[in-house]
């Protein structure tokens, strides 16, 4: 911590002050450029480490754009059936024209089967025997109905399940190729095939469908309902029932072909009360009545499908991969009497979900072929036996034919996927003998004149075996963790963390002088390591890119460690030695350990509030102990302001699902909306009124409210913030139709232009001011006074500078020049930069987020003052508190560590359409706004109230920035290691993986911003100060 810059021997009297000054200027600029290079290299190491880890952890499935076509069957059709006729059926004769497909969210299999407590000795729970209709009908009318366990592929979240149920493929956490908004399905699926075949598709219920299939449903008949409000058990269900039954009426025939209904009550009852609760029994009884009515009302030619998209665990939650969560129920019904069983024993539905389950992906080929559609291209499932075997249970010919079609489509997909992904033959080799034996079995049947049932059966089983093996291979390809790649990533991340720790907390000399060595060695190591990696990568068994990346990163980290060797005298083991250092390390370590627990990860926002208040209280305590009254008051008042601002911001929260029911969302108008309440529109105006004044208050304290500060903070920022406030009023006016007379297009154009002007003001005018401003000081002449020179003149003026102060002992007092704002020249000059960014960051926040981000800005200034009052500039305290502030306000701007809280719509604030790369950048500014603001403010810690000529200032800035990065790097490493460790944990997809993604993304964002905005920006502010006061 203690770099010896301050204690360095005073520079010798230069021969030529001007030449010496010039030399120092060149030296600074060179050191600065190398510093930027050094931080860039660190960021590259981190990026490589994260890439390596994620490529092993987030194995992704490539989404193929191919569509199955009605006229092009995957294999030659037999029995004279011609493809391409939607009336008869595309690849196979169809059985139904119309279907009603109802999803009862979270319908677990054991909700539907009778429970007899006496037999098993178990205690009857509320969910038992409440929903018997499905079981009853399958036993009573086996030719009309069947019920089977329906196994979901985790993650068991509704969105992922709907993808699986409509595409027939396996979900992966991140599907490569997803579009920008990340929700709409862009691969071949059942709904698209229906619409393509000219069917009229209606949807009722959970609005997730509309995110997945935008624009596919009949707009007049479709009724989406908000799925977010888990506390409301009835609105969605009653709405679906109310709109569904009229459609079953004869008069509505021809208005629709397929209805997708989605009931949410069971799921919500589970989330709210759990399965063993009277409310669940009531809900299931209600469902029982609904489906009894539906059976009565449905006509003879319509297929009725009822299913759960997933189950629920003992507490009624889902998302993971436990048995209770994946075991749903599937029931099909029609009055045509088409269904059969291959064995009489199968008439009784399985007693538990462990017997005779079908996969959820099997629904897609089954429905497609029953409705006469082509099987979607990416499907991996197989047709369900009961639906094709015929009511006599002997139709193995039909079953073999549909199994063959499906298997052939799977084979076509397999071929495409392997060639696009360049999979080695090794992976798919087990499939080759299975396919050829299936072909042989089929050939044998074709060659026999009167094939026996057994022959058909063996052909059917051969194609099924092919499908099952292919599914197994796909599972292992997509759901497996590549431990080698993950270990490489962790190694690189841990190595660069160590380098960063040593650089930020273990260097006692001037870091500015050390960086050239580190950069040189680091680069050399990267090149050598990369070359070695490339050479090794030629070996075909290893991935070329991965080995090269690993070689480069590891070589770079090792090289950089070598770079420390010449400076070993000035190094020490970076463990904390002071109270504040210990506290900073303790908080960081506590957070890191906490991320191994799902509870602490879920409640991270409250934890950060707790930590920040602890810091506030301790800073208050430390300030109260100061001897100097002015320092004591400054420290104490700013600490109190910090504490109050932190708690005030904590009132605004957006709850994640897991925080229910102990959390109430206040970020938007209500828990179920994502628009702001009308009263919240006042917040931007309050911010516009107060924030510029608040910043000027801190400038006034040291008389630095001069020149460019007046123009930028006093005028430009104020005007910009009023624009921001107006923008959000216009936005609300558009949402709420306040002025029907004004066209929506006009409102939109006005508001987008307003946003663009604000952006320009922030980045163009803000940066221009920042780069070309003179130091924010003023010189006044004070008439002769008998007093001695004021303390601000003790520093000897630099002869090359523009300011001269008469200093020689005069016979009589002479007038003197006083520099206003001398004390905080560096700090205020640099702080114009966070000020410029603040405007853009506020613009892209929702109204409430603007209020909280403004509180963040005030807290940052409080911290700067407290650190100055306590003289803790070199402690880890400042950078750590700013990192905590950044993390905390992330939650206070309406985000959580889950993907669903990303505010995609903010991409449209300054743009009418999606434009790359600007739209993703705007979303990043919105998501990580607080972290960005805090990262830019970090250099202000060493610069705040530091005298203009201060040697080794750049090294100090580098130390603070590196400490700040160290915090985020530690969190990233912890979440990465914990996600790898807990990769079989139930909550991996819901809690640990999203937090890991956030940790790594934040690290990269903060490093890029710190390097290219903060450290880069220091050049202009320090140069402008040094141009006046001379170089140190």
């Amino acid at each position: 911590m203690a770099d010896s810059a301050g204690a360095r021997a005073p520079p010798q009297e230069p021969q030529d002050p001007k030449a010496e000054n010039k030399r120092l200027a060149v030296q600074f600029k060179a050191q600065h450029a190398l510093m930027v290079g050094f931080f860039t290299l660190i960021a590259i190491f981190h990026a490589l480490g994260i890439y390596l880890f994620c490529s092993g952890f987030l194995l992704s499935r490539l989404v193929l754009d191919h569509r199955s076509e009605c006229a092009i069957p995957p294999v030659e059709l037999q029995n004279g059936f011609t493809s391409g006729n939607t009336e008869k059926g595309c690849w196979h004769p169809k059985s139904f024209d119309k279907a009603v497909v109802v999803i009862v969210d979270a319908l677990r299999y054991d909700f539907t089967v009778p429970f007899n407590g006496n037999e098993t000795g178990q205690v009857e729970q509320h969910f038992h025997n409440a929903f018997p209709v499905l079981h009853e009908t399958s036993v009573r009318e086996p030719q009309n109905a069947f019920l089977r366990p329906f196994i979901a592929d985790p993650p068991t979240t509704t969105l992922q399940r709907l993808k699986g149920l409509t595409t027939g493929t396996l979900p992966t956490f991140i599907d490569a190729g997803s579009n920008f908004a990340g929700t709409a399905i862009d691969e071949d699926n059942l709904v698209e095939q229906l619409v393509h075949a000219g069917k009229k598709v209606v949807h009722l219920g959970d609005d997730t469908w509309h995110a997945l299939f935008p624009g596919y449903f009949e707009p007049e008949l479709t009724k989406p309902f908000d799925s977010f409000n888990v506390w409301d058990l009835h609105t969605v269900d009653n709405g679906v029932t109310e709109h569904l039954f009229p459609l079953l009426d004869k008069s509505m025939a021809g208005k629709w072909d397929v209805i997708f209904g989605h009931y949410l009550g069971v799921d919500h009852a589970g989330h709210r009360y759990g399965p063993d609760h009277p409310a669940m029994a009531d809900k299931l009884k209600q469902m029982d009545d609904v489906f009894r009515d539906m059976i009565e009302n449905i006509d003879d030619d319509t297929l009725l499908v009822v299913m759960g998209d997933h189950g629920m665990d003992i507490k009624g939650d889902h998302g993971g991969e436990s048995d209770d969560e994946i075991e749903a129920a599937l029931w099909m019904y029609s009055k045509k009497g088409l269904f059969g069983r291959s064995d009489k024993a199968f008439i009784q539905p399985p007693a538990t979900a462990k017997d005779r389950p079908v996969g959820q992906i099997d629904l897609v080929p089954t429905l497609s072929l029953l409705l006469g559609l082509p099987v979607p291209f990416n499907n991996l499932g197989q047709p369900i036996e009961e639906a094709f075997i015929g009511n006599d249970g002997k139709g193995f010919a039909n079953l073999a034919e549909v199994a063959r079609l499906t298997a052939a489509q799977i084979r076509r997909y397999q071929g495409e996927y392997s060639s696009v992904r360049k999979l080695s033959d090794l992976a798919t080799s087990p499939l080759i003998p299975l396919w050829s034996s299936a072909q042989e079995a089929w050939q044998r049947v074709q060659e026999t004149k009167r094939p026996s049932v057994d022959q058909w059966k063996s052909a059917y089983h051969a194609f099924t075996a092919y499908q099952a093996e292919n599914l197994r291979i796909c599972r292992s390809l997509w759901a497996r963790f590549d431990l080698v790649s993950m270990t490489m990533g962790i190694t690189v991340l841990v190595g660069s963390l160590a380098v960063l720790a040593l650089f930020s907390r273990g260097v006692m000399s001037d870091r500015g002088a050390l960086t050239p060595l580190l950069l040189g060695w680091g680069l050399a190591g990267t090149v050598i390591g990369g070359t070695v990696g490339t050479t090794v990568g030629v070996v075909p068994a290893v991935s070329f890119t991965q080995v090269t990346a690993f070689g480069a990163a590891l070589g770079g980290v090792l090289g950089m460690s070598m770079g420390f060797y010449p400076a070993r005298e000035a190094l020490r083991v970076p463990y904390p030695r002071t109270f504040w250092g210990g506290l900073s390390a303790l908080t960081c370590v506590m957070l890191c350990i906490g991320f191994a627990s799902n509870s602490f990860t879920i409640w991270e926002d409250e934890q950060l509030l707790f930590f920040l208040t602890s810091y506030g209280m301790l800073m208050l305590a430390a300030s109260l102990g100061l001897e100097d009254t002015a320092d004591r008051n400054t420290g104490a008042y700013n600490s109190i302001s910090f504490i109050v601002a932190t708690r005030l911001a904590s009132v605004f929260r957006l709850c994640r699902e897991e925080q229910m029911p102990f959390c109430r969302s206040t970020y938007y108008a209500s828990a179920t909306s994502s628009t702001s309440a009308t009263w919240q529109l006042a917040i931007p105006f309050i911010v516009a009124l107060t924030i510029p004044s608040a910043i000027t208050y801190f400038y006034h304290r040291t008389k630095n409210y001069q020149a460019s500060a007046v123009i930028w903070i006093g005028i430009a920022l104020r005007v910009g913030l009023v624009f921001v406030a107006l923008y959000w009023v216009l936005d609300a006016a558009d949402d709420g139709d306040w002025y029907p007379s004004i066209s929506k297009a006009l409102l939109k154009t006005t508001r987008v232009s307003l946003a663009q002007v604000t952006m320009a003001l922030s980045f163009a005018a803000g940066y221009a001011t920042y780069i070309w401003a003179s130091p924010l000081i003023a010189v006044i002449e004070e008439p002769a006074a008998p007093e001695a020179a004021p303390p601000s003149l003790v520093e000897s003026p630099d002869p090359s500078g523009g300011i001269f102060t008469s200093f020689a002992p005069p016979p009589k007092p002479r007038s003197k020049l006083i520099i206003l704002g001398y004390a905080n020249t560096h700090g205020t000059r640099y702080f114009l930069l966070p000020g410029a960014w603040l405007l853009a960051l506020l613009l892209v926040q929702k109204p409430v987020g603007q209020g909280t981000l403004a509180l963040c800005m005030i807290s940052i200034l409080n911290v700067l003052e407290i650190i100055d009052a306590n003289n803790l500039r070199r402690s880890a305290l400042g950078p750590t508190v700013l990192a905590l502030l950044g993390s905390y306000y992330f939650f206070k701007t309406g985000h959580q560590a889950v993907l669903s809280t990303i505010q995609w719509e903010t991409a449209f604030i300054p743009l009418k359409t999606i434009q790359y790369p600007f739209s993703p950048l705007v979303v990043i500014l919105n998501t990580f706004g607080p972290q960005i603001l805090c990262a830019i403010a970090v250099p202000a810690i060493p610069l705040w109230k530091t005298r203009p000529k201060y040697p080794g200032l750049l090294g100090r800035v580098a130390g603070a920035v590196a400490t700040h990065m160290l915090f985020y790097a530690a969190i990233a490493v912890a979440t990465v290691v914990e996600a790898a460790w807990l990769r079989r944990h139930l909550m991996l997809y819901r809690i640990f993986m999203p937090r890991m993604l956030m940790g790594t993304t934040v690290l990269l964002v903060v490093e890029v911003i710190s390097t290219f905005v903060a450290v880069m920006g220091v050049r202009w502010s320090v140069t402008s100060v040094a141009d006046i006061f001379g170089w140190a």
Partner: protein, 246 residues
């Protein structure tokens, strides 16, 4: 938190270079009753907590409200029996183990400050601590009774002895607030209570679904355990040490 790195022993003879008079660690009164009472005090507090724990979990508000008067009396007795009141000459070491001449003589001189200490605790500290708890994230719109009672118990364990020993000297209180007082039994108990409350908040978010995770049980247990530990540690182990903040 303020364990090893920040604390350094202060040499007893050399006064630190501050204009303020350096406070010395408080010494107990030197009679047998004081010694006995001072050591019985944490035992009573902890066994009281242990005995009423189940009731506390079941009905925190009632239990805490009923326990408050008992704690008030206990704290008053502790101050009265064991501590030198403000302004009283610090007891001379040579008197150790000797019975004081007549304790009833200065009854008033000790009872009045003890009463005032508790009065000040109730009127000044408890509202302030309630605010502090809210700042740390205690629920704002619900559970106010819980939070007030928690603040009451925290205040009762942390402050009467400070009022009793140090009176209302602003400079001393500044030192107390900035952790600059030397550690002793009295200050150790106060810091212990506060630190205990801090660590008591840690298990709240865990999803163990235990009854005792209810607000404010864990924090309250932290306060009691912390106060008793702090009292023993401050009174015996690290007596005279000072936290070094900056």
């Amino acid at each position: 938190m303020s364990s090893t790195p920040g604390i350094k022993p202060i040499p007893a003879s050399k006064p630190a270079p501050t204009p303020l008079p350096q406070a010395k660690p408080t010494e107990l009164l030197h009679d047998q009753y004081s010694f006995l009472a001072a050591n019985l005090h944490p035992v009573i507090l902890l066994s009281g907590l242990a005995l009423s724990f189940n009731r506390l979990v079941q009905d925190p508000v009632m239990t805490l409200a009923r326990a408050a008067p008992v704690v008030i009396i206990l704290q008053a007795l502790y101050c009265f029996l064991c501590l030198p009141s403000t302004g009283q000459a610090p007891p001379q070491p040579k008197n150790k183990w000797k019975k004081q001449a007549k304790p009833s003589q200065d009854f008033g001189a000790r009872a009045v400050p003890a009463f005032l200490s508790l009065l000040l605790t109730i009127t000044l500290t408890i509202p302030a601590l309630f605010l502090v708890l809210i700042f740390f994230g205690a629920p704002l719109t619900t559970h106010q009774a819980h939070t007030i009672l928690l603040a009451a118990h925290l205040g009762l364990l942390a402050t009467p002895q400070l009022f009793y020993v140090h009176g209302l000297d602003v400079r001393v209180w500044m030192q107390a607030a900035s952790l600059q007082l030397p550690l002793d039994e009295v200050y150790g108990m106060s810091l212990g209570a506060v630190l205990g409350a801090w660590f008591g908040a840690v298990p709240i978010p865990l999803d163990w679904d235990r009854e005792w995770q209810r607000w404010p049980v864990t924090v309250l247990v932290g306060v009691y355990v912390g106060a008793c530990l702090g009292k023993v540690v401050g009174g015996y182990l690290v007596k005279g040490w000072r936290v070094k903040l900056n």
